[in-house]
Amino acid sequence: MSTETYNSWGRYFNYSHRVVPVYWTDDTLFTQAESEKLSVLPFGYGRSYGDLCLNDHGILLVTNNLDRLRTFDRENGILQCEAGVSLETILNFSVPRGWFLPVTPGTKFVTVGGAIANDVHGKNHHKSGTFGRYVKRFELVRSDGKPIICSAEQHSDLFRATIGGLGLTGLITWAEIQLKPITSSLIDCETIRFANLEEFFHLSETSDKEFEYTVAWIDCLATRDSLGRGIFIRGNHLHCTPPRYTTDSNSLSLTIPCNAPEFLLNSLSIKLFNAFYYHRQRRKQVRRHQHYGAFFYPLDKIGAWNRLYGKRGFFQYQLVLPNSHARAIRLILETVADSRLPASLAVLKQFGDIEASGLMSFPIPGITLSLDFANYGQKTFELFQQLDAVVVEHGGRIYPAKDAQMSAQIFQQSYPAWREFKDFVDPLFSSSFWRRVTPSP
């Protein structure tokens, strides 16, 4: 067991951990934890932004070597694989065979275990709900006994607690996932420029019926009448007879080799980028066929792009507001504008009504906004605290996968199910996030 510094995607927290790599689903996991009286936490690809996947001075069970496929039912598209298999591996395997991920986040560099533990969502939330809905069963290893197979029928309470369970209910060693059929690797997509928030709400409402995937990029530096202007992106899987599957012609093209200097992402460059992106599209509406790689994972083309933010790291702040308070998004955007801290990226998406499968899953019917900020020090935290208050006041919540700062009070108020959830937390498991939002009295 070695001691190493691990950080998450935001690179703000650099914590020292004891590292236990997991190679086999039947590995003994808890010997060191028990002898050294340390807590453990599973760690996938560390694509969470904050401290959710970190366990300061504790043990990380690093799962990326649990990367075997176990069974594949070709007829029905059911894949059983180990929990450290990445979504990229699944796609490379399944697309040529005519199957696609039922739900995918904005990067394919996440593990199946991580996707379950955060019950991740994608651009098709309004049609398909979260990742957890397509998990048929999994094996969970807890510190107190034999591995347990969990499904909607077997150990259903533990099943529900583990989906969106933040890695705290045990180690998922393998899972069975329902894929969905496709006949092409292309997405038939449209991008539409919109001038303000009202136009966004209108576009979203009309598009969500006919389009499987919808999302909007927002120029977060626009204010007043243009507040909330942006580009709306919507698409469907292209249908091809006979089926045709191609590989992405432009896969990883650039890797950021080291920390960028702090001045690279300043308010001027961010403003220029946002304005450029908004005006780049000359026509109001453009339609084209795009490879799924370019459509779902544009950022994956730049390796380690998180280094662009320099060594101070950065944050993503993702909130959801219930439909009844969706218009409070305006208040959020105004609060950000008033803070004069430039968000480098802002994404808006309407969630659907499908209930999430996890006890602690983030999505609720409503509207979700994510904002990326460089680390501007104390001012950034002050802004987040202001936003937290607005969000909770309007019945919303913050996404733990992205969070780096919410207080215990904010968390407990917006995730009331945490009381029920804490009984499922394995006594040997913990995380920096969990200790922050549920401090012991």
Binding site: S2, D26, R68, L69, R70, F93
Partner: protein, 248 residues
């Protein structure tokens, strides 16, 4: 389409072996796996079958038991006929300090990495020579290029293996059987999981790609990744009078 290749892997649960087998599974190869842990062998076998291997066979054997080798190879020969590739991947790093005090442990290291391989490779050679084709690929190590205080028992066993392979290559050349010596540097696998990973450490899938290329290009001795060749050249040429004073 070209005929599907058949590969026999000894020590099939090794990380490097698994990564190599995956590359061959994707092209639909017939893969024969030999390992001592039956449950893990099953996991590896399922993975390869799902990824596209046309057939996967499993054999459970502790390869340190040299007395079983002849029977094992005879049984595999009977089952698969001829094979295109044999990959010898099992090995153990052991604990150098323990090996200095405890000969049983030192002997295990020599037995696993060297002595048992001598027995196994001779049995495989006879099998391959019978059809006058095939490639035998063996995982030796850069550790065999020069003895160092931190792992010289393991290094000596790998050095013995490397020299043995030179001789075997020389002997089998005229009979149409190729022998490839692979010398990986530090690879991130269970064998090294307790060690701190430096900048020079590599993932198993990179080694696997190197192995497949070495087979394609009909190479004889390959350092993986390639930068280890100049590094080991320098290390081999440091005069002993200096080397003995270094902390390596």
């Amino acid at each position: 389409m070209s005929k599907k290749r058949t590969i026999v892997i000894f020590g099939a649960t090794s990380s490097i072996a698994q990564a190599t087998a995956r590359l061959l599974a994707q092209e639909g190869a017939h893969i024969v796996l030999v390992a001592r842990n039956a449950e893990r062998l099953e996991m590896v076998s399922n993975d390869l079958a799902v990824r596209g291997a046309s057939q996967v066979d499993k054999w459970v054997a502790d390869l340190s038991n040299t007395e079983d080798h002849a029977e094992l190879i005879a049984a595999i020969t009977k089952s698969v006929g001829r094979a295109d590739i044999a990959l010898i991947a099992y090995g153990m790093l052991g604990d150098q300090h323990r090996a200095e005090k405890d000969f049983t442990h030192a002997n295990d290291i020599v037995q696993t990495n060297f002595a048992s391989a001598v027995s196994l490779l001779h049995a495989i050679s006879d099998w391959f020579v019978a059809s006058c084709t095939g490639t035998i690929v063996v995982l030796s190590s850069v550790a065999g290029d020069r003895g160092r205080q931190s792992n010289y028992v393991y290094g000596a066993a790998k050095a013995g293996l490397t020299v043995f392979l030179q001789g075997l290559r020389n002997r089998l050349f005229r009979q149409g059987v190729r022998v490839i010596t692979i010398k990986p540097g530090m690879v991130d696998t269970p064998m090294t999981s307790h060690l701190r990973k430096g900048l020079l450490s590599t993932k198993p899938h990179r080694i696997a790609q190197g192995i497949v290329t070495a087979i394609e290009k009909k190479r004889h001795t390959v350092y993986l990744p390639g930068f280890w060749r100049p590094i080991m050249f320098v290390i081999r040429h440091i005069p002993e009078i200096i080397f003995k004073r270094l902390k390596l």
